[in-house]
């Protein structure tokens, strides 16, 4: 379980997070919605310890992330897969090496046969052909890069996967593929997920719960049905804008 309490973060004079409270239950997929620049990605990075909050606490499986030692943090990160917005694939390594680096168990990482098999299996899970293993990231399309990023994130069988804008910049077909994939990982592998996104329709399709982050705080959260029924003007404004643009 992930518990976020009163998390605040500022960069210079700009307050990005201003007392965020959020709980993520095991086995659920939470979509974190919000306008651009409201700190959704920053919040995701504080969960994995890439950014240290100025205030507040983030507890993952009983461990307080901001207070963890370097070694303990590395251990915790092995339980968390992180899908970066643009894939963040290592561009000097081929797809196989990228996915292999996701094998967080040193024995598995050093077992070449196992690594090969697991990398191919992860590619299958994200609907990519095994031949992709030999390709360099520069040879992949945007959608393929995102899927390889997901394959790398799940290679070590993490308990949690954090998705940073998994469908941004993709066409509707590729967005649907990624949304379906996130849902499948949750259903079939029991992965707990947090998905940061602008894509309201994708969030409704994929998430068990939705939270809206704006003004540095989570101002609303609930199931998709509760969210849709919300009378909160900020929630309504956010949903109507997206659904209105979708109906054009």
């Amino acid at each position: 379980m992930i518990t976020i309490r009163d998390v605040a973060k500022r960069f210079g004079a700009q307050v990005v997070l201003d007392g965020v409270d959020l709980d993520v239950e095991e086995g659920e997929t939470l979509a974190l919605l919000g306008p651009s620049g409201t700190g959704k990605s920053v919040l995701l990075k504080t969960i994995i310890g890439l950014i240290r909050p100025d205030r507040g606490d983030i507890v993952v499986d009983g461990l307080s992330v901001p207070t963890l030692s370097r070694k303990a943090l590395a251990g915790l990160r092995r339980k968390i897969g992180y899908v970066f917005q643009n894939g963040a694939l290592f561009d000097s390594d081929d797809v196989f090496e990228n996915i292999r680096l996701g094998l967080t168990d040193p024995d598995q990482f050093n077992d070449a046969a196992f690594a090969q098999e697991r990398a191919a299996e992860c590619l299958r899970l994200v609907n990519l052909a095994p031949e992709t293993l030999q390709k360099m990231p520069s040879e992949l399309s945007g959608g393929m890069r995102k899927r390889v990023g997901i394959a790398r994130a799940i290679a070590g069988r993490p308990k949690y996967v954090l998705y940073d804008e998994p469908t941004s910049g993709l066409d509707p077909v590729n967005s649907d593929i990624i949304d379906g994939l996130i849902r499948r990982l949750n259903d079939e592998l029991g992965v707990t997920g947090i998905m940061v996104t602008h894509d309201v329709r994708g969030a409704f399709r994929t998430a068990d719960r939705i939270a809206l982050l704006t003004g540095g705080k989570v101002i609303a959260q609930g199931t998709p049905a509760e969210f849709r029924a919300s009378e909160d003007p900020q929630v309504r404004a956010f949903l109507e804008r997206d659904f209105a643009s979708a109906s054009i």
Binding site: K45, R70, R77, R78, F84, A88, S92, G102, R152
Partner: protein, 262 residues
């Protein structure tokens, strides 16, 4: 007037704090690399790859520049040493000036541009495209994967390149001297030997090793701490080359004082 003084104080304080913060970050990075050394299975193959890449990639330019440097040194020596100075002194001057100074410093400055810019740009790009964050998110140490291999490759290969440069420059100096003045092979060889001390070779290697450390550490630091996108990568790259070049010249002075004049 008092506001100008305040501004100067404010600026001085800011610069001092920034410099101290940079020293702290640099120290932290070196400490991180020290910890990364424990992961031999990670950094060893990457170090060998890096060493091969920078060694093979830099050899041609190093040999080219050093052969020109040797030739020019010999020709200028010939131009200056006319009259009563024995001709064999040209051999001494070419050999000593190349081994003690030109070989390591020229190679250091060339490689500060070639390797330093490359490392800073590579790591800076990895930083702004979140590849370094990705490595950390996988519970892996960027130090053992990215920094230690690059610094060790520099420490391993740059002294070797300096040895090649020294040999090439002395050989080209020898040929140039023979072509431009009435000096025999025996004269040149005698001159090269007469003031030669075995420590001279060690001094060249010690300098090469120190310059290699400066190139590896500074360029990795500048690249690793890159911020603000493509503009930041550009700033890190030029910053790495300029800082490394200045540090090389500073080290040159310090090493000459410490090792030659004690």
């Amino acid at each position: 007037m008092s506001s100008i003084v305040q501004q100067i104080q404010h600026r001085t304080g800011r610069v001092t704090l920034d410099a101290l913060a940079a020293v702290g970050r640099f120290g932290g990075l070196v400490g991180e690399m020290g910890r990364g050394l424990a992961e031999v299975r990670i950094w060893l193959p990457r170090t060998l790859d890096e060493a091969h890449n920078i060694g093979v990639g830099s050899l041609f330019i190093v040999l080219l520049i050093s052969s020109f440097a040797g030739g020019v040194t010999a020709l200028q020596a010939g131009y200056q040493f006319t009259g009563n100075i024995p001709i064999y002194v040209v051999g001494s001057l070419v050999t000593e000036s190349i081994v003690l100074e030109l070989g390591p410093v020229l190679v250091g400055l060339i490689l500060a541009g070639r390797i330093g810019a490359r490392y800073a740009a590579e790591l800076g790009t990895m930083r702004v495209t979140e590849q370094i964050d990705a490595l950390e998110s996988l519970g892996r140490s960027p130090a053992s994967h990215l920094l230690v291999p690059r610094v060790l490759a520099c420490l391993l290969i740059i002294p070797v390149l300096v040895v090649f440069a020294d040999i090439t420059a002395v050989a080209s100096g020898w040929l140039a001297a023979k072509a431009a003045m009435p000096i025999t092979d025996q004269d040149f060889a005698y001159g090269a030997r007469v003031f030669w001390r075995p420590f001279d070779a060690w001094y060249s290697l010690i300098k090469a090793f120190c310059f290699a450390g400066a190139i590896g550490l500074i360029s990795c630091y500048r690249g690793y701490t890159t911020q603000q996108g493509a503009e930041g990568v550009g700033r890190s790259t030029t910053g790495a080359v300029v800082t490394t070049s200045v540090v090389i010249l500073l080290l040159d002075l310090v090493l000459a004082q410490v090792l030659l004049n004690h």
